[in-house]
Each structure stands twice: as C-alpha cells, then as structure tokens.
Amino acid sequence: MQKIGVFVCWCGSNIAATVDVKAVAEALKSEAGVVFSTDYQYMCSENGQAMIRQAIREHGLTGIVVCSCSPRMHEATFRKTAVSAGLNPYMVEIANIREQCSWIHKDMAEGTEKAIVLARAAVAKLHKNAPLTAGTSPVTKRALVIGGGIAGIQTALDVADAGFEVDIVEKAPTIGGRMAQLDKTFPTLDCSACILTPKMVEAAQHEKINIISYAELDSLSGFVGNFTATIRKKARYIDEDKCTGCGVCTEKCPSRKGLDDFNMKLNKRGAVYIPFAQAIPNVAVIDPEQCLKLRTGKCGLCQKVCSAKAVNFEQKDELIERQYGAIVVATGFKPIDASAFNEYAYNDSPDVVTSLEFERIMNAAGPTKGQLVRPSDREHPHEIVFIQCVGSRCTEDAEKGKPYCSKICCMYTAKHAMLVREKYPDVNVHVFYIDARTPGKNFDEFYRRAVEQYGVDYIKGMVGKVSVEGKKLHVQGSDLLNGEQVHINADMVVLATAIEPDPTARALGTMLTASMDTNDFFTEAHPKLRPVESPTAGVFLSGVAQGPKDIPETVAQAGAAAAKVIGLLCKNELTCNACVAHANEAACNGCSQCERVCPYGAISYEEREIRSPEFRGVRRIAVVNEAVCQGCGACTVTCPSAAMDLKGFTNSQIMSEVDAICR
C-alpha cells in the first residue's frame, strides 16, 4: 500500500479564488492511502518545495500528488523536489486544477467538486505507479553522412569542425552532387563550380572527414548513438590510392559508347572516365557495362598506359562495417523523367531539353563548351521557349507528375532566360508560367530584372502541345492574360521538370526506419519545430531529401542538421525516455502486430525460454529497445493479448483514473 501525500496549491488567488483549496485538502484525507494532505499558497516556491520534502521524510511518503497548475508547467519541478527527498521522480502525479479547473469555472462549489475529482484520479493513478528508471546508452562519436552533394558536404564540414569523425558515403564516383552540374546560381549569378569546388577540396583535406565514394549503405542496425552500418564500396576497377588522376587512360579508352551521366547523357564518354575535371576523389572509374576488357576479356589498353599501375580488373565490391552515433540523410534529388511528357515532344526531338540538360549546354565545361547550340544540328537557336511547372503541381490522381511545387524552377528558369539574353541578345526568349513564385531574398528583384532589363517574354499560361515541324518546334499554348491561344515557332524548348527525391531514398528510408511522405521525401520530426530531425532518433535530414529547396536553404539546413548531430555526439551517454513500452513475456505470443505499428522500429523479437506455470519452453517474444521507444503507446493497444504495456501510462493506471472520475 502506498503512503501518499497530497499538496494543494493556491497559486495565489489563481486557484484559490474558484476552488476551496482547504476543502480539497480535507476531502482527500479520506482517500485510501493518503496519509498526509495540506495546502499552501505557492507549492512551486522554495518554501512550498521544502514543505513537500519535509512531509516525504516525516511521513515516509511513497508518492505525492500535487494539485496545482498544468503538468506541462511544473511536473519537472516537483519531480526534482521528490528526487531531492529520496523519492523516485515517477512517483509524482499532478492534478491540473488551474488550467483545467479554476481558470475555466466561475462557481466555487463546482470548481471545488471538480478539483476533488481530479485529485482523486491522480491519487488513484499514483496507487498503480511504480518507480521508473530511465536507461542510458553510450554514444559512438562518429557521424555518417549519406550523400555527398552540397548538403552532405556542408553537414560533414560543420560536424568535423566541431571535432567529430565524419564519413561521407556517396554513390557516385565523385562528391559534388547536383550543384556540381550547375552553371550559374541564382540570384547572384556566381559560378556554381567556383563556390562548390573549394568546399569539396576542404572536405577532402579535412583530417576528420573520410570520403567513401562510389559506395552505398548496404544495411543498418542499431539505434541512436549506436548504429552499425555496412557500406558497400562498389568496384571501380581502379586502385584509388595509386591513381593520380592524370587522365591518360580516359583518352586512350577505345570504347566510346557510354553516355556521360554528368553531362545528362548529352555526349559520349569512354568506359574509363573521370566524371569531371574537379572530381573528388580525382580518380578514374571503369564502367563495367561499357569496358571491353570486362565484357569480352579483350583490350586492357588502360592498364597498359597507366604508369601508376592503378588499373585492377580483379577488383571486387568491398563491404565496410562501421559504428556511428548519428546518421544524416542528404540524398538529394533528381529531375523527373521528362519522357512521360510527350505533349512537349521530349521524345520526338533532341531540341526539347530539360532544364538540367540546358544547364550543361550553357556550362563552359559542358558538352558544347558553353556554346548555346541546338543539340540536333549544332546550330545557333533564335527562338527559345521555356515551359515551367512540367510535372509539378499535378494532383495525386493525375496520370503523371508530382502534387507539390518543386520550388526552384521559377528561379532557375528566370536565370536561364536571363543568361541567354545576356550572352545572345539576338535570341528571343519566351517563358510560359502558371505563377512566378519568387519568395526569397532578392528573388523577385531577380525575376523582374529578367522581364524588365533583359526583355524576357513571360506568358501567363501553359503550353498544350509542342510538335516537330521540320527543323522547327511548333509551340501551341495559352496566353491567359490576353485570352488568346499563342503559336510560336521555336528552335529549342526547355522544360522546367519537377524534381523528385533520389530513387535510392525509398530503400534507405526503410533501412533507417525513417518515415517518408507519399512522395518519398523524408518527413521531419515536427514540421515547424524540428525540421531537420527525422522522427527516428539519431537520424537527421539535410537538403532536398526532406523537401524541395534551393542552395542557400540547403546549406542552412545542412548547418542546422550538423548542430543537432554535434549536440548528440558531444554527449557521452544518452538518457532514455523512462515511459517506454514493455512486453509481458508471459502473455506475448510473438505475433508481430506491435512491430508493424511502431513508428520507430523499436520492437524486435527474440526466442526466449519461458518457465511459467502455463507454459514451459522456447517462445518468440517482443522486446522493446528502450533507447529507441518514444512512448507513444501504439503497440499497447494493437497487442491482441494485452502483453504490451506502457510504463507511466499503464492500462491499470488509466483504468484507475477512469474509475476515479466515474465514481
């Protein structure tokens, strides 16, 4: 039997004005188990707390009920008070008689009666309370960043600067990501490579950063502070330590059929290649699909010309196993496949390109050396049509496209239009748009410059059809402001295709048990207040993996994610939530229902030997990882055998409250 003390707070007149606090304290004296009951003006004051401590010691209380303000306000205070008097902090219950009683009721009798009921419910619950101890778990002081684009690089740099080891796992042969493919960046028009490559170099030279390129996460286990990752480093058939990046092999390779991914497949490359001049690591890689030696056994020319003896056709995938305390998802995006949008003749004409393809065409290091020419005949175009919202803002039930706004297209289209007009004033540029969305610092000014200073022809309305007519592209669209259908004979059409999460994200989300939305963007722990954390503890989000964003926003989020990672890694051990689920092994039948509803992947199963009067033998039992469980209780209700219960909010505790209220 518990020995319970009840402490009724006046909160000055906040409670005492509508609740007869003395009557409450008096009424509670007759409750079973209550050995002490009193009232005081301010329980949370030092004097009030001293009174509680003294009562705990003098009456040997096993638990206390404080009738006061909301537990959201002072539960932590009174728990500390209890601890300082030698009680377990979870032997404290709060009856909320201010926010949920005195402040909303005007009648004294009514308020007092309700306060007594609330206090009784708290006492009833406390009878079923048990001392709880929050577990601790150690923290591995190393972070894993998945994705080596600007998001991953920035997060890695920030975490490494704080003194922690960081591994960047990048699936491509080089870090740099999408930003490396861009020509200029809005709204300042500074060259993308000029601001990105120094960061790539800094990451490569940082003593705390280890770049694992051409690699992907193979499997993951563990939980916050204690992840174990297996990383598959794909065979690149080049010894990374020996290769000097001289590029002789790439010139000599006789295979010229591979499509250059870095240049959005606009040109061909050899089977052995270095993605781009500033690649990091600056090491060649062999494409096994194209390599004659690997496919037919005949050739090996690269091996002969390599003075560093770096070519190794025997290389195999390598598995690396490492421990991490935190994981950052920075998997980025890709443009959607424009071939679904054949109303724009994307499949019919090479002169219909996506914006990222156009970015490469405009880039001085791109397939045309920065010369604006039509891909079909390498002729200079005179009439270019840009179409925005290609695949963005479609409804969920539409045949194709994404329901969200891709956010960056309005700005990069304005940038492209402006760059074209600046370099080639003879080219007419038309932009079909639904809305020009420019909410960002200096964004609207930038877009207006495109219209006013560079004379870009913005047409409000969409294009309904593009058809190939000889060497020209016939563009038929709406001019909604004039209420007309417009027809333009264009030389090139550029599609501002929607962006979508990288295709590897879905499998990664499953591996990390990090939740995703229906579009495969990772969801944040709270959309406003915890935007860089995944609901899964220890997993953080950086960049477009979480939702469409531009470079400044990505860098800001990358830094924020790094701050969260540092906050985690600088702890030696983590205090777990004490109110966690727990399976009663005598009742659990290992049915897996609880595992399916757990949003954190906190439940696993183990074969355990049971020795109970009803059953002897080995049985599959649910085991809750207390470091991962966040205590929502979804599993407790789903459990068909009522084996799962939530500490601090047990079935019997809640039932007792119900009973006390309905008494």
Binding site: C389, T395, V463, G464, G477, S478, L480, Q485
Partner: protein, 130 residues
C-alpha cells in the same frame, strides 16, 4: 424555347463527376485545344465559370457545340479536371431539356455533302440531340 435557370455547379459536378474547383487556371487545356479559335468560351474559362456557378451563360454559349470532344484538354490536364467532361455535362443539361435538340433529323439533308462521312452525322445526332 427558353433555358431553365435551375442548373447549378453541383448539378454539373453530379453529371460530369468532375470537381472544377481543382482547376488552378494554368491554361494547359486551352493551350492544347485544337479548336480554340472557334470556342467562344475556351476550356480554361469553362472550368472557372462552372466553379463560379455561371451555368446559364455556359448553356447559352456556342462552345458546347463546337467542342470536338477530342479530349486533348482532359488528357493534358495536370490536375485531372477534365474540361471536356464539364463541357459534355453542360451540353447534356441543355439537350435534355424539352425542345432543345441542337440537331434535328430534318436538318440532315441540307448538311449532306459527299465529303462528309456518314459516321459524322450519326455521332453528331448522338451528341446533339436527345
């Protein structure tokens, strides 16, 4: 021969199964319309007028007879609004009223010419009369 004033946006929704309020006025339908120049109310305006409940005006328009029912607008719409179905629904509400057949059997002979496929007359009868 007067049109009843009773038809509401809800009726059009019921007949067509299309929720015009989903339209974001991007104009892709009108950009795709092959008969745009003949349409006194182009598809994107048709959608917004249904949303505004201006059904009577639509019923009195020529667009409901000039729409080719090619469904290019429906096919292109990024939000599944399907303007062609809206036009069809308004046309039906007109034709279903008494004496509102847009094409009558006795008007066929004067329309006949040797280049006109018979199929066109059959489907026009189906489309324009009760």
């Amino acid at each position: 021969m007067s049109l009843t004033n009773q038809v509401t946006a809800a009726d059009i929704l019921r007949i067509s199964g299309v929720d015009a309020s989903r339209c974001m006025q991007c104009g892709k339908c009108s950009g795709a319309c092959p008969n745009y120049d003949e349409m006194d109310i182009p598809p994107h305006r048709f959608a917004i007028m249904v949303r505004q409940g201006r059904i009577t005006e639509l019923m009195e328009s020529q667009a409901i007879y000039r729409c080719l029912s090619c469904f290019a607008c429906s096919q292109r719409c990024p939000r599944n609004v399907e303007p062609a179905k809206l036009i069809e629904a308004v046309r039906l509400t007109v034709i279903r009223q008494k004496g509102q057949n847009h094409m009558k059997a006795d008007s066929i002979p004067e329309k006949l010419d040797e280049k006109l496929p018979q199929q066109a007359i059959v489907s026009a009868m189906r489309k324009y009369s009760k």
